[in-house]
C-alpha cells in the first residue's frame, strides 16, 4: 500500500510538471491542419522516398532564397542518395576556398563535407533581393516552430485572399497560418511546380508535405537512430527493473 501511494504521488508530480510545459506551449496557438507523418511517434521513421522528393522541392524552389547552413551535403546519404549522387549534387554548387599559395581566394565545386552553399552572400543581400524580408535559414526550422512539420505544410499551402478590411502591406502576402497573417514570402508551391521522377502526383499539398519531411530530416538527421536506440534502452530498463524488483522483494522478505 505504502509503495502504491508513493508511486501514485510520484506519477502525479510528473504529470503536473509536464502539464506546466504543455500550458506554456499551448499559449500561442493557431489551429493547424493535422497531417499524417511517417516520422511521428516512437516507432515512426522518416519516409526516405518522400524526403528525397522533398529535397527536389527544396533544391528547385526553396533553395533560391533559403539557406540550409547547418546541413552538410553528406547528410543526404541518410535519405537514400548514393555517394556518387551526393558528390554530383555537391559539385553543382561552388564554394569559396583559399587563400591558395598565391594568396588568392578561389572558387571550387563543393564536396560532401561542405555545408549547403547559401543562396546569398549575407543577410543584407538576402533582404535586398526579397523586398526587405529575410528568408530564414531552414536547417532547424521544423524544431524552431510550434507545430513542426504541420506548421510548415500549413504555411506553404495557407495562402488566401485577405478577408475584407484586412490590409496587406505592399510586398507582403496574406497567409492563414503565419503569425500576424502577413508574410514576406509569396506562395511558391502550386500544383505541378515540380515534376517527380517517381510518378507521384505533384499537388501543392503533396509538395508541401514532401518538403516538410525533408526539413524534418535535416533538422535532426539522427532522429531515426535516436528512436531505435530508445526502444532498446527502454526494453533493457524494463527487464532490469523487473529483476531489481524481484531482488528487492527477496531481500526484504526476510525482514517481515
Amino acid at each position: 500500500m505504502r509503495t502504491m501511494k508513493s508511486i501514485i504521488f510520484a506519477a502525479a508530480a510528473v504529470a503536473v510538471s509536464f502539464g506546466f510545459a504543455e500550458v506554456a506551449k499551448a499559449n500561442e496557438g493557431i489551429e493547424l491542419p493535422q497531417q499524417i507523418w511517417a516520422q511521428s511517434g516512437p516507432f515512426g521513421r522518416i519516409d526516405k522516398t518522400q524526403a528525397r522528393r522533398g529535397f527536389q522541392v527544396f533544391k528547385e524552389i526553396c533553395a533560391n532564397c533559403h539557406s540550409l547552413g547547418l546541413v552538410s551535403y553528406r547528410n543526404l546519404r541518410g535519405i537514400g542518395f548514393t555517394e556518387d549522387q551526393v558528390k554530383e549534387i555537391a559539385a553543382s554548387a561552388q564554394v569559396q576556398d583559399g587563400p591558395n599559395d598565391q594568396g588568392e581566394m578561389f572558387m571550387r565545386p563543393a564536396i560532401q563535407s561542405d555545408r549547403f552553399v547559401k543562396p546569398f552572400e549575407n543577410d543584407k543581400k538576402a533582404r535586398v533581393a526579397n523586398n526587405g524580408s529575410l528568408p530564414p535559414d531552414l536547417s532547424v526550422i521544423v524544431k524552431a516552430r510550434h507545430g513542426g512539420e504541420d506548421y510548415i505544410a500549413a504555411l506553404l499551402t495557407g495562402y488566401a485572399d485577405a478577408p475584407a478590411g484586412f490590409s496587406v502591406p505592399d510586398g507582403k502576402y496574406y497567409n492563414k497560418y503565419f503569425p500576424g497573417n502577413t508574410v514576406g514570402m509569396p506562395q511558391m508551391l502550386f500544383d505541378d511546380s515540380v515534376t517527380y521522377a517517381d510518378g507521384t502526383k505533384a499537388t501543392a499539398l503533396q509538395e508541401a508535405k514532401d518538403v516538410a519531411v525533408f526539413l524534418s530530416y535535416v533538422a535532426e538527421p539522427t532522429q531515426d537512430e535516436r528512436k531505435a536506440l530508445g526502444v532498446k534502452v527502454i526494453l533493457f530498463l524494463v527487464v532490469f527493473s523487473g529483476l531489481m524488483y524481484a531482488c528487492k522483494r527477496q531481500l526484504w522478505a526476510g525482514l517481515h
Binding site: 501511494k5 503536473v16 506546466f20 547547418l70 527502454i234 525482514l255
Partner: protein, 422 residues
C-alpha cells in the same frame, strides 16, 4: 607513528585503509549505516538526484569539449554537437532533459521533507544545506539554459539579470557588472559558461556536506519517530541500495521516454532560433521548473516588490525549521496540518500554471492569492498549527508500527533467514 587499525583483510586495501581510512569510512556510511526500516520510495529521490547530478556532470564535461562560448559560434557549435559529434545528440539531449528530471526529483525530495517534517530538529542543518543546494541548482540551470544562445536563452538572460536593476542605487551597476558590459553580449556568455562549469562542482561539495550532516542524525522516516533499537532499522546495504537501484531504474525509464521519443518536449521552439537582440519573442517563459517563482515575481505589481517577493519565497525556506513549532515531525499524525500541506502543494501547482499563462484576467488574481497562501503557509499556518493542533498519539516504535506489536525480528540476521515470500 600509529596507523589506523583497519579491519580489512585484503593486503592492498588494508595498506591503503590503514593510511587513509577511506574504505572504513565508506563501509561505515554506505554499508553498515542504519536506516529506518519503514522508509518508503519517496526516500529514494535524494539518491535519484545524486545520480542525475553525476549524469549531468559527466555529459556536461563531454559537451564542454565541443561547445564554443562565443555569441557568433555558440548556436552553431551546439548544432555541431547534434550533427557531427559521435553520439553528440545523445549527450546533448541527455544533458538538457536530465536538467528537468533533476529538478523533478528534487521537488519530490523537498515536498517529502516538508510532509514528514525532515527539516525539524535535529535535522535543521541538512535542510539548510538542502535549500542552499536548491539555490545552486537554480543558478546552474539558468546559466546552462543561456549557453545554446537561442532566442529564449538570450531573452531569459536579459529578463533575469534585469531583475537586479529593480534595486535602488546599486541596481544598475550590479546589472552592468553581471553582464560585463552594457547589454547581454559575449562577455556575459563567456562568464555564464565559466560559472555553469564551476557551480556543479560547488553543488557536489555541498551535497557531500548535506550527506555528512545526514549521517550524523540518520534519516527521518514516515512516522517521524527515532530509531529505538536494532529492530527498527536495516543496514544501508543491501536493503536500501537495492531499493534505490530499483527506483533509479523506474525513474530512468521515464527519463528515457522523454530523452528518446520527445527530447524537445520540455524545451521551447524559439530556442532553435539563433539569439537576436533586435527581435523579442512574443512570450518569454522560463522552463517549467521555475514557473511558480515566475508567478510570484509577477504577482506583485511592482518590479522591486516582485523581485523581493520572489527572493523571499526561496529564503523563507532557510528559516522553516524555526517557523514550524510542532514537536511532532510527520504529518501522518497531524490531520489539520496535513490538509494545509496538501493545499500548499496545490498552491505551488496553481502558481506554476499562473507562471505559464499570460498575466491577465483570472491568472493575476490566482497568482496573488497563490502567493499569499505560499507565505501564509510558512509564516502563519505552520507556527500557529504547531501550537494549536493536538497530534494523534505516536506509535511506541517503528517496529511496533510495522509488525503490530510483534516486533522482535532482528534485522541484522535477516539475510541468513530463509526466504518467506518472493
Amino acid at each position: 607513528m600509529a596507523l589506523y587499525p583497519s579491519k580489512f583483510k585484503n593486503p592492498l586495501i588494508n595498506w591503503i585503509d590503514s593510511r587513509l581510512p577511506i574504505v572504513t569510512l565508506m563501509h561505515h556510511e554506505y554499508i553498515e549505516f542504519q536506516m529506518p526500516r519503514n522508509i518508503n520510495y519517496l526516500w529514494a529521490f535524494g539518491a535519484i538526484g545524486m545520480l542525475l547530478l553525476m549524469l549531468m556532470i559527466g555529459t556536461g564535461i563531454m559537451l564542454a569539449m565541443q561547445y564554443t562560448p562565443n555569441t557568433g559560434l555558440a548556436f552553431a557549435s551546439v548544432e555541431h554537437i547534434m550533427r557531427d559529434v559521435n553520439f553528440g545528440w545523445l549527450l546533448r539531449y541527455m544533458h538538457a532533459n536530465a536538467g528537468a528530471f533533476f529538478f523533478l526529483a528534487i521537488y519530490v525530495h523537498i515536498f517529502r521533507g516538508l510532509y514528514y517534517g525532515s527539516y525539524q530538529k535535529p535535522r535543521e542543518m541538512i535542510w539548510i544545506l538542502g535549500v542552499l543546494l536548491y539555490l545552486l541548482m537554480m543558478a546552474t540551470g539558468f546559466l546552462g539554459y543561456v549557453l545554446p544562445w537561442g532566442q529564449m536563452s538570450f531573452w531569459a538572460a536579459t529578463v533575469i539579470t534585469n531583475l537586479f536593476s529593480a534595486f535602488p542605487v546599486v541596481g544598475d551597476p550590479i546589472v552592468t557588472w553581471l553582464w560585463g558590459g552594457f547589454s547581454v553580449d559575449n562577455p556575459t556568455l563567456n562568464r555564464f559558461f565559466a560559472l555553469h562549469y564551476l557551480l556543479p562542482f560547488v553543488l557536489l561539495g555541498v551535497v557531500i556536506l548535506h550527506v555528512a550532516a545526514l549521517h550524523i542524525t540518520g534519516s527521518n522516516n514516515p512516522l517521524g519517530i527515532d530509531i529505538k533499537g536494532p529492530q527498527d532499522s536495516v543496514p544501508f546495504h543491501p536493503y536500501v541500495t537495492i531499493k534505490d537501484i530499483f527506483a533509479f531504474c523506474v525513474y530512468l525509464i521515464l527519463f528515457s521516454v522523454f530523452l528518446f521519443f520527445m527530447p524537445n518536449y520540455m524545451g521551447h521552439p524559439d530556442n532553435y532560433i539563433p539569439a537576436n537582440p533586435l527581435v523579442t519573442p512574443a512570450h518569454i517563459v522560463p522552463e517549467w521548473y521555475f514557473l511558480p517563482w515566475y508567478a510570484i515575481l509577477r504577482a506583485i505589481p511592482d518590479k522591486l516588490g516582485g523581485t523581493l517577493a520572489m527572493f523571499a519565497a526561496v529564503l523563507v525556506l532557510f528559516v522553516l525549521p524555526w517557523l514550524d513549532t510542532s514537536k511532532v515531525k510527520s504529518m501522518v499524525f497531524k490531520p489539520l496540518t496535513r490538509f494545509c500541506f496538501w493545499l500548499f502543494v496545490a498552491d505551488c501547482i496553481i502558481l506554476g500554471f499562473c507562471g505559464a499563462n499570460n498575466p491577465e484576467g483570472i491568472w493575476v488574481i490566482a497568482s496573488r492569492l497563490g502567493t499569499l497562501y505560499y507565505f501564509g503557509y510558512f509564516l502563519v499556518l505552520l507556527p500557529l498549527l504547531g501550537k494549536i493542533e493536538q497530534p494523534k498519539p505516536l506509535p511506541a516504535s517503528i517496529s511496533e508500527s510495522i509488525l503490530k506489536g510483534g516486533g522482535s525480528v532482528h534485522a541484522h540476521g535477516a539475510t541468513a533467514q530463509p526466504m518467506e515470500k518472493a
